[in-house]
């Protein structure tokens, strides 16, 4: 098959994008605006908030998210016009029928839109099941329903995740498995969908309060409801063989889509763990749930990462994901799409968890030796690196916490014959051990959440479909084998980006907001209905394509 021209395929096309405020959605929007300015239109679905309508939220995002700096520098005062001619902001919400879009806008979208890219999703591993169900499952169904109503070409590119495979081991094919769960049991997704709905309703009913309940009682009720909802989701996911609520819900979305919309042209786009950009606008990261928490944990005195040696650790830079997503979109628009695309690196350029752990340790070592504020940081902590620990070790988090609790109990029950000052000291130390135990609880929870990916499950996600999709423009070719040399990437791109963009968030501090020289303001009046035909004419006029 001839290579696909991404620019020619997307020129003049109208795409509706959800999830544009997220890490991946934002980067993809910048990529398209920068590298394919001949795109016809990107309609960005955004929720308005009580104090900020959707268009103002969009302005705020473009003006303050550092990823837009490149466009600000490139276009300067012309950025408002440039973006407004190519982007329109559509107020709506993923969890509503037809996204809750106003009727006149909806009609225009249905007449003009070529493709919907559903990039919206809740990526927390174990959130409130109600939120995950609403966003990740019902949101996907709403996207499909809207896609089906498109008059020009009903098409949907649904952004999912590789990890819908759950605890299935081995080489994972690019197929949609809708009638079987990871444990190999028969799986009726419609029945499961109803089970989740019924269970959540029952749970909410069990926590109902009288109308005159105090705000304190309501707050307590909400906390308990959330806690029980999370437990419900985690237990159910584990029952079927998914490691967490996120992967369970994402799989449900895929299975529901193929079963409820068999005639709709759609593809599942499944990225792995999305991390720092490597080739295009290198050094950008905003992810919260990737390798960042691990790297942050290893920054301190904590060392033992539960990991199986040689276990694949599928990290993929966000720019390669965006190129892959763009290529998949172009394939859909050209009628060449495959049912599913994996977008990872373990197939073509494998990184293992033990290697990632050592590289993280080396990065911290180099950073502390040069920038450590104290002598102990530069000389001691720099040499105290994280280790991938395959077996149950005496230094496991569970053992450390047990030891802390045991010591605390012993110190609180100090013998009577001790002098008073010694007893007081014992109480102080007991308090410190309690504090340590409380501080380690979320760490243990985090390690448990990651252990399916680092230790328990050996998976390689085959990326044959993206690899085989040859494109004319070399900058868009999905080639993690050529684009990434892992040591260089981890030490000089990934870790500095995590330090700059992600560690402050974990520490509870703000990252500096970007302030452009020229303030961007989206101008709804700059609609460009003729832009599509004009742009295509320009390309034709330059002799690129004779139509």
């Amino acid at each position: 098959m001839n290579p696909l021209s991404i620019r020619k395929t997307l020129a003049g096309k109208h795409i509706l994008l959800t999830g544009a405020t997220g890490f991946l959605g934002k980067f993809w929007l910048v990529t398209i605006l920068d590298l394919i300015p001949e795109i016809g239109r990107v309609s960005v679905l955004m929720r308005g908030k009580s104090r900020m309508p959707a268009d103002k939220r969009f302005d705020d995002m473009v003006n303050h998210s550092p990823i837009f700096e490149h466009l600000h520098l490139k276009h300067g005062p012309e950025l408002s016009r440039f973006i407004s001619e190519r982007v329109d902001v559509v107020e709506g919400s993923i969890d509503r029928k037809m996204f809750g879009i106003a009727p006149d806008r909806l009609k225009s979208l249905q007449e003009n839109c070529d493709l919907i890219i559903n990039c919206a999703g809740l990526t927390d591993f174990n959130p409130d099941l109600r939120m995950s169900f609403k966003t990740n499952v019902q949101g996907a169904l709403n996207a499909a329903e809207l896609a089906q109503s498109l008059k020009k070409s009903p098409q949907l590119l649904h952004v999912s995740t590789c990890f819908v495979a759950g605890r299935r081991e081995g080489y994972i094919d690019e197929v949609v498995v809708d009638t079987e769960c990871p444990k190999g049991l028969d799986y009726d997704v419609e029945a499961e969908y109803q089970w989740v709905l019924d269970s959540l309703n029952k749970l909410e009913d069990s926590f109902s309060l009288p109308a005159d309940a105090s705000s304190k009682r309501i707050r307590i009720r909400d906390l308990r409801l959330r806690r029980d909802s999370i437990k419900l989701g985690k237990d159910r996911a584990a029952y079927w063989g998914w490691p967490n609520i996120y992967t369970y819900m994402k799989h449900m979305a895929e299975a529901m889509l193929v079963q409820r919309f068999p005639e709709l042209s759609m593809s599942m786009f499944r990225p792995a763990i999305v991390e720092t950009s490597v080739r295009y606008l290198p050094g950008w990261n905003e992810g919260f749930n990737g390798s960042g928490p691990f790297a942050y944990l290893l920054k301190g005195w904590f060392r033992q990462i539960p990991a199986a040696i040689d276990n694949p650790f599928d990290i993929v830079p966000v720019d390669l994901v965006c190129f892959g997503m763009t290529n998949a979109a172009a394939a859909m628009l050209s009628g060449r799409a495959k049912p599913a695309y994996h977008c990872g690196t373990t197939h073509l350029n494998r990184l293992t968890i033990d290697r990632a752990t050592e590289l993280t340790g080396l990065a911290h070592r180099t950073h502390l030796r040069k920038n450590g504020r104290r002598f102990t940081d530069r000389f001691l902590k720099s040499r105290f690196e994280g280790i991938a620990q395959p077996d149950d070790t005496v230094w496991s988090m569970e053992n450390i916490r047990d030891a802390a609790r045991t010591l605390s109990r012993s110190l609180r029950n100090s013998p009577d014959w001790l002098p008073q000052f010694a007893k007081d000291k014992c109480q102080d130390w007991a308090y410190e051990f309690d504090r340590m135990d409380r501080a380690l609880k979320p760490v243990e929870a985090m390690l448990d959440a990651f252990s399916p990916f680092t230790r328990d499950t050996w998976q390689v996600f085959l990326c044959q479909n993206l690899k085989d999709l040859k494109v004319e423009e070399p900058e868009f070719q999905f080639n993690p084998d050529a684009a990434i040399e892992w040591r260089d990437y981890w030490l000089h791109v990934q870790m500095p980006a995590l330090r700059k963009w992600c560690f402050p968030k974990y520490a509870g501090t703000e990252i500096p907001r970007y302030t452009p020289e020229h303030t961007f303001q989206w101008d709804a009046s700059l609609t460009n209905p003729a832009a599509a035909s004009k742009t295509v004419t320009n390309i034709v006029g330059q002799g690129v394509v004779k139509q």
């Binding site: 290697r355 050592e358 590289l359 340790g361 080396l362 070592r365 180099t366 030796r369 040499r383 690196e385 280790i387 040591r487 030490l491």
Partner: protein
């Protein structure tokens, strides 16, 4: 160099083991080095066996920055520039590892090539063996002769600067040897055979 790598292995227990093995092989290495420097160098780098290439490259950068980068002597650098001006091809010979000494090529203007030792790496881990050819003692001299043959260089017209007694064969194989900051053994030999001696410490 091998001791630095061993002392900075991944885990504490690994550091203890590797340093321990160096402590055992060290005296043997020093003894053997009197007659067979190549064996001594091989023994030393065997302590790197099993270390990942990622770690070795990082430690190599550190070693270079901590122990070599600021240690180039001005007079030595001037000698290199002088050789360049005279139209010589300048080759740096070192018992160190390529991952460390390779940076000298970037830092030292005027050096055309660095001949040094390379650790064998398989599946991203050092095997503990050095790849042939080994650059140490008599073997270094053999390599220089082979290099000269390949590059069609006349060693009788070449200059060589060396510091250690183990480099006597190398100095003897060129037309213009020079003992630079020589150790006791080389200084005595240089005096006996009337080789020029250069002392500088800036």
């Amino acid at each position: 160099m091998a001791a630095y790598f061993a002392a900075n292995a991944h885990s504490i227990s690994e550091r203890v083991l590797r340093l321990g093995s160096l402590a055992v092989t060290g005296p043997l290495s020093a003894f053997m080095g009197q007659n067979d420097r190549g064996l001594s160098v091989r023994l030393a780098y065997s302590a790197c066996r099993g270390m990942t290439q990622d770690r070795l490259l990082t430690l190599a950068d550190e070693y270079y920055e901590n122990f070599i980068e600021d240690q180039w002597l001005d007079q030595g650098l001037e000698l290199i520039q002088q050789a360049r001006r005279q139209g010589h091809r300048v080759v740096l010979l070192s018992e160190g590892l390529e991952m460390v000494m390779g940076r000298a090529l970037k830092d030292l203007r005027g050096v055309d090539e660095v001949l040094c030792n390379r650790l064998e790496v398989r599946n991203r881990r050092a095997t503990g063996r050095l790849q042939e050819p080994i650059i140490a003692g008599h073997e270094a001299c053999q390599q220089v002769k082979k290099y000269a043959q390949e590059q069609q260089l006349d060693l009788s017209q070449s200059l060589a600067y060396a510091t250690y007694g183990g480099d006597m064969l190398l100095l003897a194989s060129v037309g213009h040897p020079c003992a630079a900051n020589p150790d006791f053994t080389l200084r005595r030999a240089a005096r006996e055979v009337d080789w020029p001696i250069v002392d500088y410490n800036n």
